[in-house]
Symmetry: C2
Subunit: 440 residues, 2 copies
């Protein structure tokens, strides 16, 4: 059976050839979310090293306290001390962020910290002034993380407002604004810089307030080229180690007042952050840092198996797995021209000491075939659920596919794409045309 692509540029009910794949399962492959469950395999292998025992009487207080009940003196009064220590340690080891003389603020995932950051920036302008700039515009270059618009606007806040693509943002003269920079970017994996260039803004007015989302600035996804050093930098446990269920993120913040206001936001929003998950994050980050220090030099990226007593370097394992997935995906769609994927230049990674490609958390797949308008709809007919480009303020010709889910889903994805592409190739060779996947 061969698939046929008829011109559907003007069709609202574009259908992909359902007969184009024939794997053992007819199940839906849901790669819509970026659920980082691929890292489970590593954590299963670590045995007790990644386990955490929480005694029934531990961390019952609202406040972060040591075992004697003495409170942590951090600005972020609900942050467990060992969590902060392990955050600073892993950044030092990986070299992806400056943390010296910076404040750490823990959050219930980085999406809470994003809201804390826009809240703190908005409050840096007096609310009751006659020329109050509120709601302050929030922008991000498209394609941007699909949750940003809804997370910014769901409460119809008078403090800030989503204004879409930063590339087309003008605003009025001297109007302050908040620009989000996700780097590497979700959905497309590219390294990003701010794009709004406000010429003519006077000093202290119309200033850019930047939030750098570094969720994916870890060695398994991209080369670590320099320690990031920006005003507000967001990181998340989900994407760094794979523990999305713990809902832990952290911000590295330069300005004391901003760190205080972000902490205040989290106090009002959830009266702090789960201490159980902070303790777990501390344990997991420690396990990773230990694994890096035990396997620092020559084993990295080389595939050598760690000795019995040692843990395999987490980033080495994770990166090898990502590289293998990307290789298979690129191979599945190659030499055909039906789909394309972004190309990422090799860069020198200070962490590994090698030139490396990027292997992003998401594949930003573009359909190149004339006649297909919507990549996600097309893929859904292959029973591959993805997130369409429009949801990212981008083109519907693109779709975002999670590359960090469990192995059997990635296997099915690649099997279905390969089958479809090779069927199409055969049909083209034979000149057979079948409409809508029906047998001739």
């Amino acid at each position: 059976m061969c698939p046929t692509i008829v011109n559907r540029r003007h069709s609202s009910s574009a259908t992909a050839p359902k007969a184009a794949y024939n794997d053992s399962s007819d199940s839906v492959v849901n790669l819509n979310q970026g659920n980082p469950t691929m890292f489970e395999t590593y954590w299963r292998k670590t045995g007790k090293k990644g386990d955490l025992l929480i005694p029934g009487c531990r961390s019952m207080s609202y406040f972060a306290e040591d075992l004697a009940g003495t409170r942590n003196q951090s600005i972020c009064w609900f942050m467990e001390k060992e969590f902060e220590e392990e955050v600073r340690r892993i950044h030092d080891l990986v070299g992806n962020a400056v943390t010296e003389d910076r404040y750490i603020v823990v959050g219930t995932g980085s999406v809470q910290l994003y809201q804390a950051a826009i809240y703190a920036y908005a409050l840096s302008y007096p609310l009751d002034a006659p020329d109050s700039p509120h709601p302050i515009s929030v922008v991000c270059a498209a394609p941007y993380y699909s949750a940003y618009p809804a997370v910014t606007d769901y409460l119809k806040s008078g403090l800030y407002k989503w204004k879409g693509d930063a590339n087309s943002f003008k605003g009025t003269n001297n109007e302050p604004y908040i620009e989000l920079i996700t780097s590497p970017n979700n959905p497309d994996g590219f390294i990003r810089e701010p794009v709004v260039n406000r010429h003519g803004a006077e000093d202290g007015e119309g200033r850019a307030m930047l939030i750098h989302d570094y969720a994916y600035y870890w060695p398994q996804y991209t080369a670590i080229t320099a320690p990031a050093d920006n005003d507000i930098m967001l990181f998340t446990f989900s994407k760094s180690t794979g523990h999305a269920g713990s809902r832990i993120g952290w911000a590295v913040v330069k300005d004391r007042k901003m760190a205080e206001t972000m902490t205040k936001f989290i106090e009002l929003n959830t009266i702090g952050v789960s201490k159980d998950s902070q303790l777990r994050a501390a344990k997991i980050l420690k396990t990773i840092s230990d694994s890096c220090q035990q396997n620092k030099s020559d084993q990295l990226w080389n595939g050598a198996v760690a000795a019995d007593e040692k843990l395999e370097n987490f980033f080495y394992c994770a990166r090898n797995l990502m590289a293998e997935r990307w290789k298979r995906l690129r191979n599945a769609i190659k030499d055909n021209g039906f789909f394309s994927l972004p190309e990422y230049p090799k860069k020198f990674c200070n962490f590994s000491g090698q030139f490396t490609e990027a292997y992003p958390s998401f594949a930003w797949l573009k359909v190149e075939e004339e006649g297909i308008e919507d990549c996600a709809s097309f893929l859904s007919e292959l029973k591959i659920l993805t997130r369409g480009g429009k949801e990212f303020g981008g083109s519907p010709l693109c779709a975002r596919i999670s590359m960090v889910d469990r192995q059997h889903l990635i296997d099915l994805l690649i099997e279905r794409l390969s089958t479809f592409i090779s069927s199409k190739r055969k049909c083209e060779k034979n000149g057979v045309i079948i409409e809508g996947g029906r047998s001739p």
Copy 2:
């Protein structure tokens, strides 16, 4: 040395007699927050029964899944199944809420669920209608939990707005509103019912949207007179078991659509709720339910020590401790008329099968002495930090004192109050007057 109370009704710098107490420590007794650390003693005694081991590979997904990766089919897609089961089980055992045919929604503490509930109620009215009632008024009878105004208004939402004391709320005809009912009430411990009575509102218009906050409706604080059965009922791990650091709360919700919208709020706010803390809450709630079932009948309230193999009934232990604290506090201020405390009628508790008094989580202490305007300021000069009545929309003659903090703080509180009261009694007897605590 004797304290003197001069008339300071018009003085802005009222000072309490600093010489009025003389305990071994000069430290500040901070009972401003309701930090439920008193329950640590119970959990220390439970040994391994309250411990939780979390393997490194557990609950990494955003979704609630069983060990085979099958997703929980609950509306609340991030809720761990065992958490939900233990929530339903403990309500059944305690008899404080109807959960059959009700939806459970887990939250990052009940403060997040409060926001989820006002969001869901606000969205039950179309946003884009020309006669949109937004922002919808949110009210609560004073004195009310001091965090409600700030938590409602910090984002200057266009959906809802804090309108203060429900007793004086009128609104316009047929204007919908949200009324919060905290019962037993924070700060004053009384059982509450809705107070807004909107006569003349037409059917479906101007309807009351009620949120019942049942944080303190547990047997250690009050008699369980009937299973509560209201539209949206909020409970919290903090006050029921003492685990404030875990940031876990839950809502019991009648309407499916409301439960869905509350879940959506939590998705947008924090993409779910810490699974580590859900698992811990499940374990702790299970331990309590087991302790109740093992010691159901005659041991309850009678002070009998559980056999070696059994856990003491948690609610029995917690209630005895609360009763003892309240007895000592009432004793410290009695027969003097300087301070007063609310009196709570004895009620029949279905859980214990006995008539019992209430022993609220907070003491709502009122200063009765002519000349003292601000109870919290007065107490602060005895180095007792409390929260002043004004913060609850109430009288500054009252102050809220946490009764659930660690034992040594409660001991210091009672020691200082006793010393002050007995010094004052001696002075009155001797007719000695000393200004501002200075020696004569």
